[in-house]
């Protein structure tokens, strides 16, 4: 029964990462990310609507609206019906309380694409992927395909484990660890001309996943390191970067589930800043890659991540922060974000990794795409995922200049001998 809020509403608190997004979200910093599947067949809207109705039953903690308390935001279940929409806006457009029946996720379709967009307070990439897999499974079933339940996809009707809604930041907080007190300096920032009509320009490049992984391995790099090296190299080659001593800093979200046992479908990630010093003259691609590898070895390890979690926890648990009214918290967060956090990074590189699906389901999927939102301080961001043997690199940008993206793809072509197959949303 949709359309009426009932007395039995579930309430969820926000995890530590989720608390940031409502404060800083705006039209130019939407805090919305997208995960999409490109199907082999045209998408049937009515089947997708039924699939969405079913999938949300398995993820009641995503069917929520945001409420403001005196001290914190919280999420409350929304019993209205989430309607699927034909895509008409640019990817990762902002979400508002009054839109979309009060939901903070969108299910969109266009041609062969099924896309799900999440406000980041709801979940991270891992939760988003799990939801999309359920949605695709239900969609294919609604289309009449006989898919066996092999237990790898979360399906409606299953018991929802409590761990899926747990705040894993709180659970894995190590009180004995020293918080990370490193104060990052200013990073080189990409600048450019904003689009005439505000929006997000998206450029996707598709590779053969196995071939790219093999070539990266030959260079003794992981795929994330390869993309970071290519982007850092491309940024360093841009004309504006010349004579600029500030380092290129790539913000890399790390899925903490790889380091801490967690079944949570809420946010459980940590940002690691990969720093490529500005001094020392022009670096070759190999020298940039060596710097990146060193930074990853140093920062993507449990001890370091624990110290970052501890620092984030300490900030929010401070009595002055905890007992400050929400509007003051939001104003403070906005100020800190604009004054410092946005100045600490050049771009974000987020690799969601390989999205695995049951074989019976994968044969209907051509590839997947992920898109993250750009921000005023970081107008160019990169997101990667691979599925069904195809790896898609997606750049989202709020500026017209494409020299860095062009150099990125050309660097991979030159260094690894692999050309991308490109397409875009032609926003410009």
């Amino acid at each position: 029964m949709y359309g009426k809020d009932t007395a039995v509403q579930q309430v969820y608190t926000l995890d530590n990462a989720a608390k940031l997004f409502p404060a800083v979200a705006s039209r130019s910093n939407t805090s919305v990310f997208r995960i999409a599947a490109i199907m082999k067949e045209w998408v049937d809207a009515s089947a997708l609507q039924k699939a969405t109705d079913n999938a949300l039953k398995r993820y009641p903690f995503f069917a929520v609206g945001f409420r403001q308390g005196l001290f914190w935001n919280y999420m409350k279940s929304n019993s209205r019906r989430l309607l699927v929409q034909q895509e008409s806006q640019y990817p990762c457009a902002s979400m508002h309380h009054d839109d979309n029946e009060g939901f903070f996720l969108r299910v969109l379709y266009f041609g062969n694409r099924i896309a799900v967009e999440f406000f980041h307070s709801l979940t991270d990439g891992f939760g988003g992927i799990e939801f999309l897999k359920t949605l695709l499974f239900e969609y294919l079933r609604e289309c009449g395909e006989a898919l066996p339940d092999d237990g790898t996809v979360r399906l409606p009707g299953q018991k929802i484990p409590a761990c899926e809604t747990e705040d894993s930041f709180a659970k894995h907080l190590n009180p004995l660890v020293e918080p990370n007190k490193t104060k990052p300096g200013n990073a080189y920032r990409v600048r450019g001309t904003p689009y005439e009509h505000f929006g997000h320009g998206i450029i996707h490049g598709v590779y053969d996943a196995a071939q790219l992984a093999r070539l990266a391995k030959q260079r003794q790099m992981t795929l994330t390191q390869l993309f970071c090296a290519s982007l850092a190299y491309a940024v360093a080659q841009s004309p504006n970067k010349e004579d600029c001593p500030e380092p290129v800093v790539l913000s890399v979200p790390v899925n903490l589930r790889s380091f801490f046992p967690s079944g949570s479908l809420r946010n459980f990630f940590c940002i690691t800043n990969i720093n490529i010093p500005g001094e020392g003259g022009e670096r070759s691609f190999d020298e940039t890659a060596a710097e990146i590898r060193k930074e990853f070895d140093e920062k993507v390890k449990k001890d370091y991540l624990e110290s970052v979690i501890k620092e984030n926890h300490n900030v929010l648990a401070h009595p002055l922060v905890r007992f400050a009214p929400l509007f003051l918290k939001h104003a403070g967060t906005k100020f800190v974000f604009a004054k410092w956090a946005e100045k600490n990074k050049t771009a974000t590189v987020s690799n969601l990794g390989v999205i695995t699906m049951p074989e019976a389901m994968e044969k209907y999927v051509e590839r997947m795409e992920t898109v993250i939102y750009p921000t005023p301080g970081s107008p160019l961001n990169c997101c990667i995922c691979s599925a069904a043997g195809k790896l898609t690199v997606s750049f989202s940008s709020s500026i017209r200049e494409k020299d860095i993206i062009r150099c990125f793809f050309m660097t991979i072509a030159k260094e690894l001998g692999l050309c991308a197959e490109l397409y875009s949303n032609e926003w410009s």
Binding site: G69, H197, F323, L422
Partner: protein, 222 residues
């Protein structure tokens, strides 16, 4: 797939220009659309609102200057009597009529704006007390009644207006506090306003026990 002659990349068939170089690609009509053709809304006209803001500031500055210049002849702060309704009109248009905020937020802002305006009128005309004795308690009472009626009609509205209603209930005790401190001199209006606030609290506490307590706990969750 088409090949861009400039960057050498392969481009999906539906494109007439390379996404990286913007150079034209060989080939004709699009094969398959991968994204919708976006309809850009017209660019906003050169901020019409800023013209009205400038006009308001000009009128206010002119009145204040004239008031200061003529204060020796007529020692009345009449510029406030012009400024208060002007600012209230702004509030009424921007934050009440044109605003997309919830009804509760608009009612609360409207109440604050009206209260401030009438207080200014009363104070600048020698403070006869008509604002604190009659108008303010009456406006508060009417706003609280409107919100409680909206709340009682559906659970959805009840929840939506909860925060604003709690704020209004608290504000309902202001007239009686003004009476206690000797600022207001008429008891029955202040008492009426405070009584309604008290009744609303009792109604929420006993009539909507579970919902009210749960909502209150979450609103004040630390």
């Amino acid at each position: 797939m088409k090949t861009c002659k400039s960057c050498g990349m392969q481009v999906y068939g539906g494109y007439t220009a390379c996404p990286l170089c913007d150079l034209p690609l060989p080939g004709g009509a699009p094969e398959r659309k991968l994204y919708p053709a976006y309809e850009h809304p017209p660019l906003p006209k050169k901020d019409r609102q800023s013209g009205f803001v400038a006009l308001t500031i000009f009128v206010l500055a002119l009145c204040i200057s004239l008031n200061i210049a003529t204060y020796w002849a007529a020692p009345v702060v009449w510029s406030l009597i012009v400024a208060a309704p002007l600012l209230y009109a702004w509030l009424l248009i921007r934050n009440t009529i044109l605003s997309k905020q919830s009804g509760g937020a608009r009612a609360l802002l409207h109440l604050i704006g009206m209260t401030a305006m009438f207080l200014v009128f009363d104070i600048t005309s020698g403070f006869l007390g008509w604002s604190v004795n009659f108008l303010i308690p009456f406006i508060m009472l009417v706003t609280t009644i409107v919100l409680t009626v909206a709340m009682s009609r559906s659970d959805l509205k009840w929840e939506k207006h909860f925060g604003y209603t709690i704020t209004l209930i608290c504000m309902g005790f202001i007239p009686i506090l003004l009476f206690a401190f000797g600022i207001a001199t008429v008891l029955w209006t202040s008492l009426m306003c405070a009584s309604y606030s008290l009744l609303t609290i009792l109604w929420l506490y006993f009539g909507k026990t579970t919902l009210f307590r749960a909502e209150l706990a979450w609103r004040f969750y630390v």
